[in-house]
């Protein structure tokens, strides 16, 4: 691929980990600004707060309210270096493990504390 259209091809794209497991979408893309160097695409952010900031203040307030409702004080957000990108096609593959990402907190919490305690939840395919 010659050129990459960040707004078209990267922002909001589906992310998968190195085992092709879906791990969210590109919620925000950060440039790194360093004195004396040109800006550089550096970080992919996955997380609700980043997503809410893109919509506006009211969405940030909603996001906080939902967090407060469930007694969550920590923001579970993942920041992945752009160097971890392995492949950009219909999805963007990152060289990471889904389980190691902080943004997968809710998925893991629901899986271990609720879903997998109900019979019939474990295994691969139905």
């Amino acid at each position: 691929m010659g050129a990459l259209r960040l707004f078209h091809d990267v922002i909001d794209a589906q992310l998968v980990d190195r085992h092709q497991e879906k791990i969210g979408r590109v919620d925000e893309l950060l440039l790194e600004l360093e004195e004396g160097k040109p800006p550089r695409v550096a970080t992919i952010v996955i997380g609700g707060a980043a997503r809410a900031r893109r919509v506006g203040r009211w969405m940030v307030a909603c996001h906080r309210a939902v967090h407060a409702l469930f007694g969550q004080h920590e923001e579970h957000e993942s920041r992945v270096q752009f160097e971890a990108v392995r492949c950009i096609a219909d999805t963007i593959e990152l060289d990471v493990e889904a389980d190691a990402l902080d943004s997968m907190h809710l998925e893991q919490w629901l899986a271990t504390h609720i879903i997998c305690r109900i019979p019939g939840a474990s295994g691969e395919r139905k």
Binding site: Q14, L15, K22, I115, G120, A121, G123
Partner: protein, 405 residues
Amino acid sequence: MKKWGELALGIVTSIGGFLEVGSIATSAQGGAEFGYQLAWVLLLGTLSLAMLMEMTGRLAAVSKRTYADLLRERFGFRFFVVPLVAVFVVSLLVLMSEIGGVAIALQMASGIDFRWWAIPIALLGWFLLWRGNFSIVEQGTAMLGLVAISFAVGALVLHPTWPTLGRALLPSLPSHDHARYWYLAVAILGASISPYLYLFYSAGAVEDEWTIEHLSVNRVTAGAGNVFGGGLAIAALVTAALVLAPRGIRVEHYEQIALLLATPLGRTGFVLFIATLFVTCFGATLEIVLAMAYLLAQGFGWSWSENLKPGKDARFSTSYSVLILLAALPIALGADPLSLTNISMVLTAASLPVTVVPLLVLMNDGDILSSHVNGWPSNLALVVMGLLSLVLLVAALPLQLLGGG
């Protein structure tokens, strides 16, 4: 050979999928109050839905991605919030109505008040979603949904006057009660063209791993299937016109709709009506819950598939589990299923612009569809649909106030 199987299945799915509580209730009300006159609205709704399903199916078969997925990716999260919230709210209301429809069917069969059935229905639905895979949900409800053909039998037994019905397929103005007429027209359109139908359909195409090879299956499914399904809704309207209108009965309870089949077919008709109401509403319940969970999971990029064990897509399976129970609560607390149905059909009609208009952009995106982008006839039809949806958005609430109830 496999292709033909899929084709037959597709047609069956659309027949079974078209008729549900919304279509049955609004067609019955339309027929009872205006005879055949609103048949053209059902025709318009059927053609529109067929077109939307063909397009979202084509989008999924070519790009191997769902409509919700592309809505988020191509329009960004800021825009995506709008269809997400709109579709979510109206689908939740429609879901409550469907659970209400199943509960009423069980009340008619057992004599036990419908409120007691809401939670057991939700638990049964949840169990099927938890244990079953996508084809069980899709094919099971489709096969059982064929019982809805009894509406066609009922209409034929009553000997409709064909020339009058034929003329009613062209739009005409009412001689009385203008506000009520247009209110019912909007409700019928909302019942025919529900966003959950094409969101579910496009996710289903990805679940079934459709490719470009399936484009012909897609065309036939969306086209023929919906024409049969819409035909059954017209049959319901015809029976209402011949059974309820002459007796001056206005539909105020679901029990009255049972007359549609009980009058031409007697006791068997009564049983068939209960079976049709139960099966089609229960099928729609499963499809709507899944469509809502798909919308969330695809929009946020979570792992999702009805073919995976729930532990593999915890957020997706939590979503459908919570939603189906949540939607059963108002019915358990005694909300009136028929008023809920009417309101949700009108709001569905009002929500259409946010899912119809973006399709015009996606269906012309060569990056996604390459040579399978829309031709000018499809685009023209989509523009007309988009304009119609904007009219519905503006007209829905005033008509609810003037013509509802």
